[in-house]
Amino acid sequence: MKKEKILIANRGEIAIRIMMACEDLGCDYIVVYTHEDRESLHVRRAREKGPGKRTYRIASYKDPNEIFAVADQAGATAIHPGYGFFSENFRFARRATMRTRPITFIGPRWEVIRDLGSKINTKKVAKSLGIPVIPGSDSPIYSEIEAEALAEELFLQQREQGIRAPSVLVKASAGGGGMGIEEVQHLDTFRRVYRRIQNYAKRQFGDEGVLIEQCLRDYQHIEVQLLCDRHGTVTHFGTRNCTIQSTGRQKRVEVAPGFDPEVWDYSFDSLRVLKDITGHSVNLAREVGYDSAGTWEWVVTRDGRPYLLEVNTRIQVENEISACISRIRGREDTPVNLIREQIRTALGEKLGFTQKDIYFEGTSIELRIVAEDVKRGFAPWCGTITRFEFPQRPWARLYSHVPADKPYNIPTEYDPNLALAIIWGKDTGEAVERAGEFLLGSNIEGHNAKGEPVITNLAYLYDRLDDVLRF
């Protein structure tokens, strides 16, 4: 690989995984960190790598000006945004590409980020390709009569499908993150809710456009992992099931593949559904000219209907479970690393393999180990970690920014994620069993300012293993 220097504009375990991928590729890298993160392993690892300055302290991970200033100062040629922060910010990507000293943005082209970043737009394109999307409006509605007619139709459809308590969601089209959403269970009350949301949207976002869609309740959250290069190659790395989530809709346990009919009886042809949604995802990727790693999020209802939810134009936390069950013919001795492939494609290299070369083996489970109080609504726990031990197994990998050799204060500024564990088994049964063994063998100790012991979600994760891939 030619002289590349990659700025890692993120923190925690993803920063570490990007570093490892860079080392794999033989690229130099630099990391940024804030004052709160100075003890984090991602900083220590970069510092200990060898001669040359590799760490830069910044005030915020969210200020693009600072990131670019560091990039220029350090002579970085590319920026990896990780996930969160700038990963799906098309303006950041655009600025990186269009500035006087351009820097490669490791991710899709900014136009793709922008176009797929809009759920409405994604829905529109998907519809035009015959990809199923959640029934409802595919553009903002401004007229009450139009909205009511659509709501009526949605109620009717649900009744025809035999749904006992049909309902629709009314959303502010300019909203996001759960703001400005209300559920309507009776058509009679629709008009009132519509007006309320419309007023809210006008006040809050200056745009009174409203979206209406069917409210789905009973579904599994399935993802398709895609990897494309800048030369038109589109591949997928199978599916994942991310249904096990905290109350705040944060994923806690993810499994690849998406369903396993060997273990559970589904009321529909699960393999067929998985095949359909990967097919649809690949089609959409081809249509928009997708050119990086990305995730297509789907919901599958109990009667086996899939609906495309949105596209995440970034590398995701749980990317490695897909990598873990994937094999590339002829390269079986090097494990698949999607982050490495993502960097490679962003720098313009060809993938060098096609879908035909990819096959799958076994089941992989990701456990997100977090310092949180599950019984109190997943409230984050703050304090000092004094002991941080996990079983060493050939079938388990652990990623963490928490140093195991000295006490570590969890910064209150960020989510209290402690570690990611990736477990592999030759089938689902073995994977679940190993995950259980791993959790039982983990040991995290610590205390907060009052001297109370650390609270983690290890027990919760163990309990939820029974639900893996169950519908």
Binding site: K62, D63, P64, N65, R91, R94, R95, M98, R99, T100, E111, G206
Partner: protein, 761 residues
């Protein structure tokens, strides 16, 4: 002389103090006590006064005589050497007559309304019901009039030097309405250095605008008399059917000191050189004779050589005569009986004030309905044509052609639109089809008539500006121009960041310039602060693509007063902007709705308004009226009236307001949108009178800037004093628009507001 002296022997003291006041008056006028040792002379007078009882009588008389001789010689000399700057000194002298003197001496009896002296909502404005009487062949006829004027109240602090506060002007307006209800003429007596520039409700600018707007169509004869006519303050009660001016008064766009400070770029608190003040006073053409020449006043009332003082009773008699004569003239011009009117007019007007102040005929001042109509027509014509001769057209040889073309077009289009919307509209449903045919034919017909003329003009002057407008804006390229087809500000072509001024308050991150001036439309996405954008952005983004068609490009900003240095500055701005005046007037459409737009923009003399700008505004307004289109005044920036055009600039205030008033009354929709900075004259007249005024976020709107406020009132104002938010809070504007919603909001406004006479209603 001895006779006069003997009369005064009894009271030599009084005589001497009169001499002393004559000297101080001279010092006031010259503005310099060392002029012919005036101060020493004053000392001498004081010495004699102190020694009245010590000096032998003969010696005393001799010295008094000598002193009077010397003073008289000096007075003669001063009278011969009166410069414009000295006129200003005369007007400001404490010995000059004030409104009170006029009320007591010109009118027979008066009753003050709305307060007396310091027990008053604004002691600077005095309103009185007054009786003025004339003698016709030994019979006395009395007229009731409403007198509205400024009281400088020399020495009375609470009068504020005749600077009316906003509520003072509001009081004036209320009593104008009373006079209108009662049908009695109004006499406006103007003694003001300017309005008190505070924004408290009802707001200096807004109230002046309201007054001018009302005076345009006040249904009674109005006469104004100017002694001290300070710009906007004067206009607040100055729009009259007949304008008189004292021969030693001044009527100006700005005080000579103010002009000198601007011209000399004097920093606040710095000393303004006297020569510069004198030069500015001369160049501003502020004297009565200058103004008569410019046509901004109708007649001069002559004063004694050194100006009238509080005891010039002869002057007051003359003023009474002139006030009556002027009112008569206004009234007579409304009379339908032509011969009588001609006869009476001739008789009355030809007669000048001489030894006698009697009149030949009595003319009642009450008007019939028909006459009132004619009064308003006359007033409209008067202001519309005022100063028009000073508007410069592009090429001398083309004036006639343009005029011909404009006139032909005007007549034809008016008839055409009257047929289209006036006559046919009521039967629209039945004759829809016919109408369409008429429209089609009409356009063809119109083209046939105007095309040859237009072609000739184009041949001589190059293609008309319409296409040029779009082509020369499109020259720059942007890094986004391929991605975003619409216009992107050239400001976006820089790879750097800027800091939002609200960063400390709202934690806004630095903005990357291409994002800010491209996608964000110059708006900080965190706090909504609007960074200024060039006017071209609005031309391209506010109106439907390709719909902007500029007109009246041939009306060019000039230098009617030959103000030194203005030509060079105009040339520089013309080269820099490729435009020839500070206003762009054009037809355009907004989401399909056709409108007429007048746009004052910052790059040309800071968007100041002079004759050319006023003329273009007025024509645009009239075009909107005949075509029944909404009229938008988009103020990118205006710095006020162009001071280098003197009162020719000031009269654009009543002129354009007249056009606006007639447009609004005709049932149109007049919307004013302020952006960036809008101050002074235009805001206090044709902009501020709009029923729909809106500020773009982060804009500043007001009467006078913080410096002028500080200098005139001694008050410091907070930095956000003129902000759009505060203007909204005070009720000056009706709303604040985000630049990104401008187009949508404008379209909403077009669809929901306005009178019944819009073409699409």
């Amino acid at each position: 002389m001895t006779d006069t002296l003997h009369k005064h022997i009894a009271d030599s003291g009084q005589f001497l103090s009169q001499l002393a006041s004559r000297i101080t008056y001279l010092i006031d006028i010259i503005g310099d006590g060392s002029w012919f040792d005036l101060e020493k002379l004053l000392e001498e007078v004081q010495q004699v006064r102190n020694a009245i009882f010590d000096l032998p009588e003969k010696e005393l008389f001799k010295r008094m005589l000598m002193l009077e001789d010397r003073i008289s010689i000096l007075e003669d000399r001063a009278a011969r050497e009166i410069t414009p700057a000295r006129m200003v000194n005369i007007v400001r002298s404490v010995q000059r007559f004030t409104l009170q003197d006029i009320l007591e001496n010109v009118y027979d009896s008066f009753t003050e309304l709305g307060g007396e002296e310091d027990c008053n909502i604004d002691p600077a404005i005095v309103v009185a019901r007054a009786t003025i009487s004339r003698r016709v062949k030994k019979r006395i006829h009395k007229h009731q009039v409403m007198v509205i004027g400024h009281e400088k109240g020399m020495g009375e602090e609470y009068r504020n030097g005749g600077c009316a506060k906003p509520w003072g002007n509001d009081k004036a307006l209320r009593y104008m309405k009373v006079a209108e209800t009662e049908g009695i003429p109004i006499h406006f007596l103007i003694f003001t250095p300017g309005s008190y520039p505070i924004e408290d409700f009802p707001g200096a600018a807004q109230q002046i605008a309201r007054n001018i707007y009302a005076m345009c169509k006040l249904e009674v004869p109005t006469v104004s008399f100017i002694s001290e006519g300070g710009s906007g303050g004067a206009e607040a009660i100055g729009l009259a059917d007949f304008r008189l001016m004292a021969s030693h008064g001044y009527y100006s766009v700005i005080s000579p000191e103010g002009a000198a400070a601007i011209e000399g770029k004097i920093r606040e608190g710095g000393k303004v050189p006297r020569e510069l003040v004198e030069k500015c006073a001369r160049q501003l053409k502020m004297t009565a004779r200058d103004n008569l020449g410019l046509g901004t006043i109708d007649r001069i009332v002559h004063e004694p050589p050194l100006g009238a003082r509080k005891d010039d009773y002869d002057f007051f008699r003359r003023l009474r005569f002139e006030m009556i004569r002027a009112t008569d003239e206004v009234v007579l011009r409304t009379k339908s009986f032509r011969t009588f009117r001609a006869y009476a007019l001739k008789k009355q007007i030809a007669k000048d004030y001489g030894s006698s102040d009697t009149f030949d005929v009595h003319i009642p001042w009450r008007l019939s309905e028909k006459e009132t109509e004619r009064l308003l027509e006359n007033r409209s014509r008067k202001y519309r044509s005022m100063g028009q001769g000073y508007t410069e057209l592009k090429k001398e040889s083309l004036i006639d052609l343009h005029k011909l073309r404009d006139k032909t077009r005007e007549t034809i289009t008016r008839t055409y639109y009257e047929i289209k919307y006036g006559l046919l509209k009521p039967h629209k449903k039945n004759v829809q089809k016919v109408l369409e045919e008429v429209t089609g034919e009409g356009a063809a017909f119109l083209a046939k008539i105007t095309e040859p003329v237009k072609a000739a003009v184009d041949f001589l002057s190059g293609p008309d500006g319409e296409q040029r407008l779009l082509s020369d804006e499109n020259q720059h390229t942007s890094i986004f121009s391929r991605e975003w087809e619409q216009y992107v500000s050239p400001l976006a072509n820089e790879d750097r960041t800027v800091t939002c001024p609200n960063a400390a308050k709202y934690g806004c991150m630095d903005l990357w310039v291409p994002d800010l001036y491209g996608e964000f439309c110059g708006v900080c996405p965190t706090c909504g602060h609007h960074f200024p954008l060039e006017y071209q952005w609005y031309l391209q983004n506010l109106f439907d693509r390709g719909s902007v068609k500029e007109f009246n490009r041939h009306i060019v900003s000039g230098n009617p007063l030959k103000f030194e240095g203005l030509d060079a500055r105009l040339n520089r701005d013309m080269q820099r902007t490729g435009r020839r005046s500070g206003i762009i007037t054009f037809k355009a459409s907004v989401l399909g709705v056709k409108i007429v737009v007048a746009m004052l923009y910052s790059n040309f003399r800071s968007g100041t308004v002079g004759s050319a700008e006023g003329e273009k505004f007025l024509r645009a307004c009239d075009l909107a009226r005949t075509r029944r289109r909404p009229f938008l005044a988009y103020i990118h920036t205006t710095g006020g009236i162009r001071i280098q055009e003197g009162t020719l600039g000031v009269i654009q205030m009543p002129r354009c307001t007249m056009a606006v008033r007639e447009y609004v009354d005709s049932g149109g929709l007049y919307i004013v949108v302020y952006d960036n900075n809008s101050y002074a004259g235009p805001v206090a007249s044709f902009l501020g009178c709009s029923p729909y005024q809106v500020g773009i976020r982060s804009s500043r709107i007001g009467f006078a800037g913080p410096r002028v406020i500080r200098e005139t009132t001694g008050q410091d104002v907070p930095p956000d004093y003129h902000s759009a938010r505060n203007a909204l809070r005070r009720g000056h504007i009706q709303g604040i628009w985000d630049r990104r919603d401008f187009r949508k909001n404008l379209h909403d406004a077009l669809m929901t507001m306005g009178g019944p006479n819009l073409y699409y209603k």
